[in-house]
């Protein structure tokens, strides 16, 4: 097989008859597939299911908080509901969502490979995810867990009689799914790049997934062993965290947050990569300061491991350690700000088109900035002591995780939907949903900043009546947000049959993934591409393609 040079930014041949979607129609051809694109679709379906399950629990929380009294449920039930919301959203949605769906689909395509390095391990990852998901659903249906998603000891080891071991096992298994995905990505990015695709030509989405994978590989094992230790403490009386034996419950928190703080970067980094792709395409410019944006991903991944104890400022850690961690926490702000400033600078004199993915990218930048800045407030010990475990914290991390991660994910889904399915989504409906999501999101979570600041604690099922007005606003926003999330479900499915045929490169975008057909053939490229151009070479695009076409 000889390698040939595909000219940059030239549309290839029209859709072939055989692609990864119609290459086998049996259930077996899907469930035993090793094709990274099919596995991405499997993930897409399962992750979406867990998103709506987690969203269902979110709606229960918001409904309960509509009134000051506990009328929909009482404390016990409410504890289980917010715990399930947290566990499902964190471990079964936010952590896998962008890497396992978009990353799985795009990493080999973007680097000109036929597949990930270990296709069967990739499939194993999905099965581990599903086994974990089934286990957590089993826990949910047979009694639930009431510790919050953080499983803090000694409550989780000594006092609660809910299903900690089973839930822990579910998280443990899902964790290995995540480890294997990260391992697969790192090896793939090191070993499988097309000829000529050097590190400084890689798309920023690849850089950010690489950084994410580092965190997955280095961090997840620590939370895995921590969960094992909690389980053996419950099952075999090995009292590692037991204060009666002189064990330290705070050690659990140290080990837990050593993973779970970097896990926040597992969630946000891939979405940052998506936003870099979107900004470049819809501003028709190379991302400003490419190298800084690329390396800032790695910097965030590394710095992310140095800051975990800012979750423990009021828990009883030493004041001096708290000061060190506070200082280090600020350092993560630097590479994050590098990204935001560089995206903004990319827009300058760009030829901007307001397609739906770009709307989500704008939403991401604004909301992530708010989430990030309030994060710096919380890294300041004085403020953190005041607002710890209030709705201020809840609002902060929802701005990052929903306003950030989910905006990036939805932007990416709209952007690559034509590549994944070969069909365009309906632009007008998509814009409406983007608007609903943005408005609904802010209406839901901005009042929570105020609620937290004036003292409403998180994780309570009832609250003093003076907090009701803001809580009603928040619940109202949540219902708008829900509509904004349901709408894409409907029109994406609709577009599978009725959407306009997309063609190989509907956005006239740069990037190897657009140089193959939509949907791509099973082995991605008929001939291994040889890359001779830099990433985002939009200045080499012919003038009549300078603006990304936006469907009406």
């Amino acid at each position: 097989m000889a390698s040939t040079v595909i000219p940059a930014n030239r549309a290839p041949a029209p859709t072939p008859k055989l692609n990864y979607l119609n290459n086998g129609h049996t259930l077996k051809s899907w469930l035993l597939t090793t094709d990274h694109k099919r596995i991405a679709v499997l993930y897409l379906i399962s992750v979406t299911a867990f998103f709506f399950l987690g969203g269902f629990f979110a709606m229960l929380i918001r409904l309960e908080l509509l009134t000051p009294q506990g009328d929909l449920m009482q404390a016990d039930t409410y504890n289980k509901v917010f715990t399930m919301h947290g566990i499902i959203m964190v471990f079964f949605f936010l952590i896998p969502v962008v890497p396992a769906v978009l990353g799985n689909f795009l990493v080999p395509l973007m680097i000109g490979a036929k597949d990930l390095a270990f296709p069967r391990i990739n499939l194993l990852s999905w099965y581990l995810y599903i086994i974990g998901g089934i286990l957590i659903s089993h826990v949910m249906l047979t009694g639930g867990v009431d510790t919050g998603w953080t499983f803090y000891t000694p409550f989780s080891t000594e006092y609660t009689n809910t299903k900690i071991v089973e839930a822990g096992l579910a998280v443990f298994i899902a964790g290995f799914s995540s480890i294997f995905t990260g391992l697969n990505f790192i090896v793939t990015i090191h070993r499988m790049r097309a000829p000529g695709l050097t590190w400084d030509r890689l798309p920023l989405f690849i850089w950010s997934n690489y950084a994410t994978s580092l965190v997955m590989v280095l961090g997840t094992p620590v939370v895995a062993i921590t969960i094992v230790l909690v389980a053996v403490e419950r099952l075999f009386h090995l009292g590692i965290f037991d204060p009666r034996l002189g064990g330290d419950p705070l050690l659990f928190q140290h080990l837990f947050w050593f993973y779970s703080h970097p896990a926040v970067y597992i969630m946000i980094l891939p979405s940052m990569g998506v936003v870099s792709e979107l900004i470049a395409c819809f501003a028709r410019k190379r991302v400003f300061g490419y190298k800084f944006v690329a390396l800032s991903s790695v910097a965030i991944a590394v710095f992310g491991f140095l800051v975990w104890a800012h979750h423990m400022f009021v828990a009883g850690i030493s004041l001096y350690a708290a000061m060190i961690f506070s200082f280090l926490s600020f350092s993560v702000g630097v590479p994050s700000a590098v990204k935001v400033f560089n995206w903004t600078a990319t827009l300058y004199k760009g030829s901007i088109s307001y397609a739906t993915p770009m709307l989500y990218a704008f939403g991401f930048i604004g909301l992530f900035t708010m989430g990030g800045l309030t994060g710096l407030m919380l890294a300041t010990i004085g403020i953190d002591v005041h607002v710890t475990d209030t709705y201020f914290v809840v609002a902060h991390f929802h701005y990052v995780m929903v306003g950030g991660v989910l905006m990036g994910y939805l932007g990416g889904m709209h952007f690559w939907w034509p590549k994944i399915t070969g069909r365009m989504y309906p632009e007008a409906w998509a814009k409406l949903s983007a608007l609903l999501v943005f408005v609904g999101f802010n209406l839901t979570f901005f009042p929570q900043f105020i609620l937290g600041y004036v003292g409403m604690p998180r994780r309570y099922w009832q609250y003093p009546p003076e907090f009701q007005a803001l809580n009603v606003l928040s619940t109202a926003g949540a219902s708008i947000l829900a509509a904004g999330y349901l709408l894409p479900m409907i029109y994406f499915v609709w577009s599978l049959r009725y959407g306009k045929i997309a063609g190989a490169n509907p956005w006239h975008a740069a990037g190897l993934e657009w140089k193959t057909t939509s949907p791509p053939p099973t082995f991605n490229f008929d001939e291994t591409p040889v890359v001779t151009w830099e990433a985002y070479n939009y200045d080499e695009i012919p003038p009549w393609e300078r603006r990304a076409p936006v469907a009406r």
Binding site: F305, L306, S318
Partner: protein, 99 residues
């Protein structure tokens, strides 16, 4: 990257020599444990353990002489992040009693 650069395997005698070296080090560290060296007991024990681990990594796992530096970088990064976990945790525990 040439075809046969992988496998810097050594001779059988070399591996046996390393193995005997490891056994001697084990005997040394056990012997040292019976001598009261005060604060140096743990230091010597961990030093010998590190020498042994280094021998295993370099020669049995073929990191020394490997065709690429990447393997070494992976190993070092593993221990680096472990060091972060240990040192920043201790940053808390060792300063708890300070006032």
């Amino acid at each position: 990257m040439s075809e046969h650069e992988e496998h810097t395997t050594h001779s059988q005698g070399f591996y046996l020599a390393i193995g005997i070296g490891l056994l001697v080090l084990t005997a040394t560290t056990v012997g040292a444990a019976f001598v009261n060296l005060g604060p140096f007991n743990p230091i010597i024990a961990l030093l010998i353990a590190t020498i042994k681990a280094t021998l295993v990594v370099l020669f049995f796992m073929h990191v020394k002489g490997a065709s690429e530096k990447l393997t070494g970088a992976v190993v070092v990064s593993g221990f680096f992040f472990l060091a972060i976990l240990l040192s920043l945790s201790l940053a808390d525990y060792l300063t708890r009693s300070w006032r």
